[in-house]
Subunit: 94 residues, 10 copies
């Protein structure tokens, strides 16, 4: 089932640059692992902001929570979750 | 280029049911026409609300405005537009 | 899977009293039918407001949307949906 | 009498990890003690957020305040309290 | 137990003046009946606004809801309810 | 003349515990002094929050400002002030 | 004592033009009467909006409420009231 | 001097189409007259919304208010006004 | 031309008391200098808050910005600026 | 294509003054470079605030994001982006 997730990143200004670099690198690796698994279905940058809009496809709310709360940047994220349903006017996606 | 669009429908309670039916039917036809053209890339229902979240792929802001302001339900829509960019952690979509 | 749903009712002041009575009576019957089916797990009145807080247990986002958008009072409802997950400190409910 | 309580946790980024671990462990023990006592009637995780939605059953506002303000994580909680009443369409809970 | 209640009145501009007069007169009678009963403990006008701030003393959330939802002006009220507890620095009220 | 005042306390997490204790103790003493003087007419705890709702009876805006800005916890308070007037439906308070 | 008052006018679109003209004319006459009396000390237009910012000098909250709620346009006004005190850096006004 | 003005149009759904057409036509004529005069310096459509963002160059607040409140669509506009100053990093506009 | 300015002061809790005292003293001197010059026309304290409401009379937006951004407390101020125009119902100020 | 961008600067109070000076100097240089390139079409100061309103002309959302996220002050900016389209009443800009 699909969820629309908006994440806004707020890094503290005094974060150690090496820690920051390592967090971002782990975040990217995890994001790509989840995309390859088909769980993180879409990932877009919000133009001009340190934020993204994503679509997740998960089996349960527990799985969604585990994935989001396990992201390396989770302590610095503001997250909005919106459950999505099939739209009656949507054509089948190929 | 991609835009994230959230539309919330507010139909007046005293709208003539025949007019309402005709508006919705034209809206659906237009939505499917734009999906077939590849312009309305994704269309999801926000679960529990008379609202959708969509992704549009257009060539210009003028085209985006013409499409949205030309929707049959436009006078009854609250619309939020967010420009999207390629995310550095996104894998190529197939 | 569980959803927290908050519904706020806004009836137009000029609604025909007979129509209003019939809507409320159908809403009550439907709410009780869904409670008996185990889908509408909890239903509480927000004290002092024409509003409720509810817990739904559904199989999919499509089922949740069909249930909520099919409520007789749906055109008059403001609805907030929040997906719930098992809490790590929660004891098993009996 | 029942209260709907939403708690959002904001831990400072520079909290000592040992202190954090000890706070969370005491919070969990207290939450389970209150669930066993029948006071903390429901406890759900808000999917994707460091937050919970809970139902408390207490005898007085003083008891509710003592319980919430005595939680180990209280200094880091944003709390919303909503009094709940019996809903006229609710079936008796078993 | 005590509740802080803020009520804001929004009368439709096209309300029949005779109906309006009768509603206000019944509202006043009911407010005074509840004050005499000791249930509506305080009633203040918010200076410059068609609004009041009140303190209610009731035995249950059900009683609070019945009182508020039974007010003649209830369909035109925006109501905020806040549960109050004894403050540790408060002297006993005489 | 009467003012409705809502105060929300935000203590910094790194405040020295001895300083915090002393601030709270002076705040309590001052609150009780003002209650005895009849200036701080009511003082209630907002259940579940580090906040109070109060009614002040002062002779001027200057007196109200001096009292509030002179509270030991003032630098940590979010304060909302609402002027109250006699309500036409209010019975005389005894 | 001084109050800062912001008024925003919302006239219904279907108001009878003759009624509107008469309301505005009575509002203007009353505003000038109160200015001459020294009660409505300042009256400014918010540039670009059907709104004003005003300073009132009254003896009590009851007087302020009577003045504002007695304005001909009162049913169409959104009003914000802010009590003002002497500022320690202000020079005496001549 | 320059002002940034954002206008959002809210036409009532039951506006007579002939009246609407005539209002829009007069609005367009007036907008172009003010552009030719150099007063309405920039006029952009907010993509996807019935709204515009504009830059006005006027001699006084009175002139700005007269222009905006004299627009044919003024009764249906939500207007935000922001005064602009020369930016220290701005190059001279040609 | 006139501007309505609301300033809210947020001093960091760990500001050096000597620095704070010096900032406030320079702020007061500057405020009085601008009042004497007729530029800072009115200055009122918002009762109960570390905030003021002011009226400035300046020749240009550049002058307004230079004055406000040059205030000693500027880095700690939240500032709202509203341009004011002559009100058609206002009597000439003496 | 055009974008309306509003930037609000929030510098931490404990930023090293030399670092701050260098950041601002690089920001100014970059802003002028982008103006000369025709990309940063307009740049205005919001009077009274550490903020600007700007118009950018870019070829893609990726270019817009690269420019904004590459600004020296980006970690301290709150940014709002609004896509602009040609307005049907706008005269051709010379």
């Amino acid at each position: 089932m699909l969820f629309h997730v908006r994440m806004r990143v707020h890094l503290p200004h005094d974060l150690d640059p090496a820690v920051e670099e390592e967090l971002k690198s782990r975040e990217k690796a995890r994001a790509q692992e989840l995309q390859r698994a088909g769980t993180w279905r879409h990932l877009w940058r919000v133009a001009g902001c340190y934020a993204n809009i994503s679509i997740f496809d998960v089996d349960s709310h527990e799985q969604l929570h585990d994935i989001l709360s396990g992201l390396p940047l989770f302590p610095y994220l503001d997250i909005d979750v919106t459950p999505l349903a099939q739209h009656p006017s949507a054509l089948p996606e190929i």
